[in-house]
Every structure is written in structure tokens, then in C-alpha cells.
Symmetry: C5
Subunit: 251 residues, 5 copies
């Protein structure tokens, strides 16, 4: 089965707008504007993002707008709150079939490697990956090392391990966190083989520092970025979007 | 699929009569009159409640009366006793299909966020939400922060987080507890986006104080109230009902 | 669907013969006579019991005799030994379909409320209740408070809570233990609403004391008794049966 | 449905050859000869055993030989190693359908009563018993008290309890360990009702002592023996087999 | 059903190229060349390996190359990272059906005997073995003693136990670790009966020492070797391959 990766790529590069923080962290990340999913949808439209990442609830309640504006929807299929202590587990909260019904062109799933619930997430991912590929839908894996077991381990090694796992379990794209070392990221990208690597934007940074890092990232073979807070917390989201796009697509 | 929300709304507002305390707390909340489900059904009828909340057993045993009086039935699909110590878990005790067979026009489900069993409830909710929406049935999520992990956390933040989760997981209406701060509740309502917010009545209060609070609540964008003990423990349930309706619908 | 309750009632009253102690306590309750299921079947027949309670194995191995004598079979669908320490859990050991195949006219299930496995039993009960009602089969719930969490709690409150749970989860009949206080039992019966209440006989007592208690019980609205050891451990099981029937049906 | 018990009985008596020790204890029980399943198959054939007990793997790999020699195959459906510490759990490792495909005329399953995993094994047994009986296949339950909870309990009572459980859960035959007391075993056999009792041979004993015990056993109503090490660890397995058969069938 | 073992055998001997280390250990085993699956595929092709072992992700992403070069694909159906502490559990990450779709001619599965999750892996293996055999696909079991319970146990006994388990659970081939004692391995091979034994190459060794060990192994009845790091970490993988083949097939 051919995987329709082209629907979330543009000239083999990507810029995704992530907006699953409401479930993961609560509205604490939001202000009066960006708390509204329509605000995000408008940024995605005007900024011509190659994908926007929502949970099922938002995809369903704001379905008409998403459809009308032809936003390329990436449905995040699992999630959790940040309230529960201990090793993290994030379980499936939307089926592949439901994602397709909601118009998704790709699905995403987070795996916390090193967590004592790692096996549960690997198994849920397996089923999702298989079901999505049966329908030609690309699968993006968020892979983050977490839990007691990983304490004290090398961040460089964990980053490369996360990337490699993405390849071994059949993700089409993986989203990982950048440790800040260019050489390490190159090795991580190499470890991922034919699986493409996207970097998570993370918490809000100074614009200058952030753009510098994006330039670095784009030299390693990564195909792009998934941004959230650095864009929709910005004073002018479209301006920072424009700058990111110039770096990614080297216009 | 269109969700038939209109069946449990009246002019976009609601007043629900909750009566699942028998399972949740035992008959300790009841007296000789309100221990009888028929007493509640009569209040619901005469008070023209926009919904009455029962567990499967009551919906089944008092089915003829509910049907005859055309009570809008909201079936609570999960429940637990208050006997077990430790982090709470409330599991599914009625299927969506069964709820429909019993004449329900909406279904409800409680999620204890922060509990170490949070993931189990989120997953059960996901299936219920999907099955209900396939049939056009609205889904109400009771979302309450609970368990060891939430100790010491800000009530305002938890209230907003609960609301946001309702949106992210696809509830049509959420029922939350009010922390008593008007500004916080406004933020919580905003966090819920297109998901509507209903406030839980909670334990019996002085009428004056209670009505004052309801007035406050109705200024925040909440669509109404789910009351139980404050009505059916009242000397004259229909009188307090009348006052509540005047506030909610501003007659 | 109509529930065929009439098959285990006689003039709205009941006298059941319980014989699931072999699994629950071991043969320690038995002597050379009552260890034989045929001995029990004969008592049930001659005593015209309105129901006799067996586990699947006995129902299957003694099927011909049960059928020949037209014994109204109540199949107990879950069970456990008394060997395992800690909070009790009793899981399903016979399907509803199998019970019907074995000729059962009703099914039973035990729920230990307050046990940390309470949720597992409530969920198994839910499925059984639904499947049985689909076939018109009445469901009897044995509801007993157990486990670490209930220590020190009021027996009166627990008895009423057990009864109410029976109603909320959709049991047709509940079997509870009597705390010995008439007023408390009346409240428990009231808490059960349209769900009928049967009292468990419990360990062997002095006949006089036992009959006195039964008389009391029958004044509270309970529909009868489920007896075991007080009958089949008696010197003359039919004599005590006769006395019980006189009380229950006031002949 | 008629259970085809006759396929593993001869004049209502049995002598089974058990060979599941490879999984349960490892090859430590074996020598250069009896490590080979064909050696066992030949003993079973020449000794005219009424059944031989294998795990799926041996039944499959030595299928041609088993079929050619018309060995009555009893497939053991669960198993575990002896490597894991703590309360034992033995899970299903072969389906009933697969057993039938492999030519089994009966199936076996071990339940460790008193283990904290008792409920899991009781539930797996339930499904197996039902599926096997649907196909007319007899079910043998190995029932052994194990785990922390049973420490200090009376062996006589546990033996009778094990037997009774076999009846209550619907086993056709149970295999238990003999505590060495004739009166206790008689009570255990009586506790089993219509379920037949077979004694496990256990570890290798002096021949004289072993045969004396078998004579005792056959006076209690037991229908025979399941032997393993006492036969295939013997210098001349067919000679000891002959002696056992003389006792069991009193030739 | 006939098992098509011939597809992964050559004159009854084997040399497999294992490349599942990316998931099991991370890219830490790799260098700039062997991190690329295509490098491995080329070694497999030129070295005429009788099988190459991949996880689903690599089999899918490098499918065209594997197919074009007609590499005999052995799909590893379970896996885990080495990040999680405590007793290991490795769960199924690819279905048998999916393996067949990806062109696999055999499937593999790891069981950590002695781990407290042993039962979960034995049960997953059972299902895989059954499904694979239904389609004529051979099943290779990696069997390694692991976890707290096995500490201090004899490596010779564990090696023989691992082998025997392979037979009892129905593996066609088992892959075990060699303890370095020729006599012990002979006993292990004997314990495996008709199940064939393959030795795991393990960590990179001095070539001379490694080849000496392989010669030893081939005298015990083992059918060959599964190599990974000793080949693809070698300066000239094809040269060491050639030497291994000369030993295995005694050219």
C-alpha cells in the first residue's frame, strides 16, 4: 500500500502547527486569543502550514472550519493530562477510522520510551500504524524518553535511540526533541534511516535564539519542525511563521 | 453526524436533575420521600427539567413511568461506590446501545483526572463518545480532579484544565464543580471552547447562598446547572426549582 | 423485554436453597449426606423450594436429575475459594448462554462492594445483567461489603448501601445479610425500590432463634430467604423447611 | 452434549502417562533415554496406557508417531516454567480447537488454588471446559493448592477442597496429590461427587512403597493414576507399568 | 499443515543475519555504515545468508530492496528497548498476517523465561505459533533466561531448560545463547528433540576465538548460527561470512 505522505509534505519539507497542549498541559499555556481553536486554524491557514495537530474533540467541534479552510489535519490519537505522577502512559483516545471520518490526512501517537508502560504504548502504536497504513495514511510518532529508568542517561544516545525506534516500529515521520548538539542530531537522523525526522518546538524561546536553532536543525537532514507555543504565543504568529518558512524552504 | 443536543436544551440553557447519588454515596443522602425514584420523576416532570440523570437500574425498573411522563433521560454510563479507598476509578456499567434501548436522549460519564486510573476512564470515555455520536446522542462528561497527585494544586487551574479536557476529548457538555471565583469560571468556560459547561450543584446549601451562586454562574457563559440534593432534599422542591429556572432562563 | 420473574416466585414470595458452599468454603460445611448434590436436589423437590442455587459443574453433572424433578435452577455465575488472602474478587465462571443451556430460570452473581476489585465485579455484573435480561432471565445479585476499606463502617449503612446498589445496577433481586436490626432492614428494603430483597441464611443457628429472625425479616418487605446450612445441616431438613414456608407464606 | 469419556477410560479405570515435566521442571528430570518423546510414546503404546499427557509442541512435532500408534492423546492446555518466584500462575498455551486438530481425545488444565492468580486460572478453565464440552471432549483439571495464602492449612482439608472445586467448576476428571491418609482421600473422592478422581504419581519413589500406595488409592473410589517419573525414570518402565495395571484393573 | 522450513534452511543448516539491535539496544551498536539497513541487505545478499532478521519497520521501509534481492526475510514479531529497568517483557509489535504481507518466510519471537512477565510472552507466542503454522510459516523462538528469579541458577541447566521449552511450546527453531561448554550444549540440543537449535552470536568477539566457538557449536547437533555484530561490525563482513559458511556447511 502506498503511504500518502505527500499530503503533509511540501517539497519534502514540513512545518506543522501543534495544538494538543490543552490536553497535555491544560490551558495554562494559553491566553485569551490562542485559547480559541479558531485562532489556531486561522494561523494554520494564513501561514500555509503543512499540517495542524489536534485531538479528536477539537477536530470534531471545529470540523466545518477545518474543512472549509482545507487545513491538512493531523489527528493526535493518544493523550494524557500532566496531573498523574509516576512513569507516564498515554493511551489511545481516537481510532484511525474516526480520524479518517474527521478528515485527517495523517495520524500521530506519542510513545514514552523508558517508561514502565512503554510496552503498552508500543503495542497500541503497532495497531494504529497497521490500520493507518492499510488506508494509506501516514503515521507520525512522537518519541520521548521518560520515566525513572532513563535518569542519568546520555541525552545524545537517547535522541538517537528515539529516532531509531521510529524506524524499527514503522513510523513514517518521528517527532523528537533536539538536545542542542548538531553532531548528535545528524547521528539521530542517520539512525532513523528512511523514517523522516521532525523536531519539536518545545517551550517559548527568544525569537533570535529559536530561529538560530531552526537553521541548525535544517542542516542535519531533518525535514522540518512542529511548532506550537513559539508561534501561537508570539505577538505576531504570521511573522515568525514567515521566518520559519524562509529557513525551512530556503526561499 | 448531527448531535441531537436540542433534546436536552431549552433556549440553549439547561437544568438537570441528578439522581445517581444512590450508587455514588449510598442512601445516606436520602429520606423517606426522596429515596423513591418516582418522587424524583415527579419533580422532574412538574419542574420541567431539561434532563434527569439515572443509572441503568433505575432507568430500567422505572421505565414505564419515565416513558409515560416523557422525562428526558440522561443515562449515567459509569459509577462506583464511595467505599473503596485510594485513587478513584469509575467503570462503565451500561452500554450506549442499552442506554438507547432504555430511551436515553443523552449519556453521561465521569472522569477523575489526576487519578492513577485516569487513562482507563479516558479510554472508556473515548469509546462511549464515539458510539454515542454515531447515533446522534449527546455526551456529557463529569470531570473532577481527584487522587493523590492533585493535592496542593490550584483549584482555579484544575477547574480550567477539567473544562479544556472536556473539549479535547470531544464531550458535548461538561459538568464541573465551581470553585467560587467568578473570574476563574469565566476562564474555564473559555477553555472549553464549543463544549458547553454545566455546574454541579453539590451538597445542600442555604437557599439564599445557593441562588446567589447560581446567578453568578449564569454570568460566565455556563449554560446551566445540574442539581440534586439542593432540590430533592428541599422542603419544597418545586419552589426552589421555580427560582432556579427564573435565574437560568431569566423569565 | 419482560423479565420472567414468576419462575422463581410463588405468590410474590421466595424460599431458595443455596448450595454453592462447596466452592466458596470447601466441603468443610458438609457431612456424609449433604455432600451429595442429589441429597440437596431431593430436599429442593420435596420442600418445593422456589429455587435452588448451584454452580455450573453441579448443574451439568446432575442435569438429568434436576430436569427430571423440575427443580427451578438458579445458576450462580461467579465464585472463588476462601483460600486467597486480601480483598476478595469473584470472577465469572459460567456464561449466561451456558446457564440457559443448562436449564437455569435465573442467574446469580456476587459483588463484594468495598473490595479494591469492586469495579471488576460491577463490570462483569453489568454484562451478565444485560445478557440475561435480553433473554428474559431474572438476575439475582449477592451484595456483600468486604475488604480493608469497609472496616469500622456502620453495618446498618452498609446494608442499606448494598440494597441501593442492587437497584442502581439493575438487579431484579438482591441477596444481602441481615444485621439483626428490624428498622435498619426496613430502610434497606426501601432503598432497594423495585428491586426485591432476599436475606441470606448464613451459618447454622439454633432453630428457635433462626425462625424468630425469619418472622422479623418477613415484616420488613423482604420477599423471602435463601437458606443453605440451616436446612441441609439440619437433622430433618423438610421439617425446618415446612416451618420456614409457614412463616413466609403465612399458611 | 455427551462427553466422550470412554476414550480415556478402560472398564471405568485409568492409567495415564504424564510427560509435561519438560516445561514444568526442565530437562532436569530426564536422562538420555526418556528425554526423547518417542521413548515415552513407545512406553505408552506397549504399556497400553489409557492416555498420555503432552504439551502442544510435542503433540505437533511427534504427531505422526502418536497417530500411527493410536496413542490416546491428552493435551495439556496450560503450563509454566518453575523459574518465576512468587505465587504461581499457569496460562493457556494451546486452544481447544488446536488440541482437537492435533488429535487429542481429552484436554487438561492446571489450577493453583490459593494462588493470588487463582481467579485468572478459574476463568481460563471455564472457557476451556465450555469449549471442550461443546465438542464432547472430556476435561481433566489438575488442582493443586499453592502460594503464600495456603501456608499452614490442613493438607486433608485442602485435598478435599481441591476435589470439590473440580466438581463445582465442571471438570470430568480431577488430578490431585494424595496426602497419604486413606480416610482423607475417601472424603476427597466423596467431595468430588460425579467428578472422577485420579492421583498424581509425583516424584520417583521406591517401587515397593509406590505400589503399596497405589493399592491404597484404589480402595478409595479413585479411578486410577497419572504416572510419570515413577515409570519413565524406572529401569524397566513396562515392568512397573504391568504391576500398576494389575493393581488398577485387579487382573 | 506442512511447515515450510526449507525456505530458511540450506542442506539442513542455517546462517542468519540478525539486525534487530536497533530496537533492542539502540544505534549504539552501529557505525556510519552498518546503521544503514541497505548495508545489511547487501551483506545478506552477497553472503547468501539463509535468513535476515528485521523488525516490521525496516521490512516495510526497505521492502523494495528486500524483494528485489530476494532476501529470505525473518520477521521479528516482538521487541522492546533496553531502557526500562526490572524484569523484561517484550510484546508483539507485528502480526503474523502483516509479516506475510511484508514477504516474510518465517517469524521470530523472544521469550524471557524466568521474568515475572514470562506468562504474557508464552501466551503471545502461543497465538503467533498457531497463526504462523496455519499458514505454513516456520516460527523461531529466541529463549533467554532473565530477571530476578534466575539469579544464581546454573547456566547449563538454564540453557537446557530454554531448549526444552522451545520444543514444548512448539517452536520450529530456537535461538539460544551458548554457555561455552560443549557437553552442556549437546544436552541442550538433545532436550530440544525435533526442534532445531541455532546459537546467537552475541557481542563482537575476536575472530579467531569466534570461529573456534562456531566449530565447537557445529559438533553438537546445532543447525547453525544467527550472527549480527560479529559480521556487520567486522571490517570485511563477507570474509568472516565466508569463513562461517565453510564451518557450517563444511565446504
Amino acid at each position: 500500500m502506498k503511504i500518502n505522505l505527500y499530503k503533509i509534505l511540501k517539497n519534502k519539507k514540513v512545518l506543522y502547527l501543534a495544538y494538543d497542549q490543552g490536553l497535555e498541559h491544560g490551558p495554562t499555556d494559553f491566553n485569551d486569543k490562542n485559547i480559541d481553536p479558531e485562532y489556531i486554524i486561522n494561523i494554520a491557514k494564513k501561514g500555509k502550514y503543512t499540517g495542524v495537530i489536534f485531538q479528536k474533540g477539537i477536530a470534531e467541534k471545529y470540523h466545518d472550519k477545518i474543512r472549509e479552510l482545507e487545513i491538512p489535519l493531523i489527528l493526535k490519537l493518544n493523550g494524557k493530562t500532566n496531573l498523574v505522577k509516576g512513569d507516564p502512559v498515554s493511551k489511545q483516545l481516537c481510532t484511525v477510522k474516526e480520524a479518517i471520518r474527521l478528515g485527517a490526512v495523517a495520524v500521530g501517537y506519542t510513545i514514552y520510551i523508558g517508561s514502565k508502560y512503554e510496552d503498552e504504548m508500543l503495542q497500541e502504536f503497532e495497531e494504529i500504524q497497521r490500520q493507518a497504513h492499510e488506508k494509506g495514511l501516514p503515521v507520525i510518532a512522537w518519541i520521548y524518553p521518560r520515566g525513572k529508568s532513563i535518569k542519568g542517561k546520555s541525552k545524545a544516545k537517547l535522541m538517537a535511540y528515539a529516532s531509531r525506534i521510529g524506524l524499527e516500529i514503522g513510523a513514517d515521520i518521528i517527532k523528537i526533541s533536539y538536545n542542542g548538539n548538531l553532531k548528535d542530531l545528524k547521528w539521530a537522523v542517520k539512525s532513523a534511516g528512511k523514517t523522516k525526522v521532525v523536531i519539536a518546538g518545545g517551550i517559548k524561546k527568544q525569537e533570535k535564539e529559536f530561529l538560530k536553532q531552526v537553521k541548525e536543525i535544517m542542516k542535519t537532514g531533518c525535514i522540518g519542525l512542529a511548532v506550537g507555543r513559539n508561534v501561537w504565543q508570539a505577538k505576531d504568529p504570521l511573522e515568525i511563521t514567515k521566518k520559519l518558512k524562509e529557513i525551512i524552504w530556503k526561499k
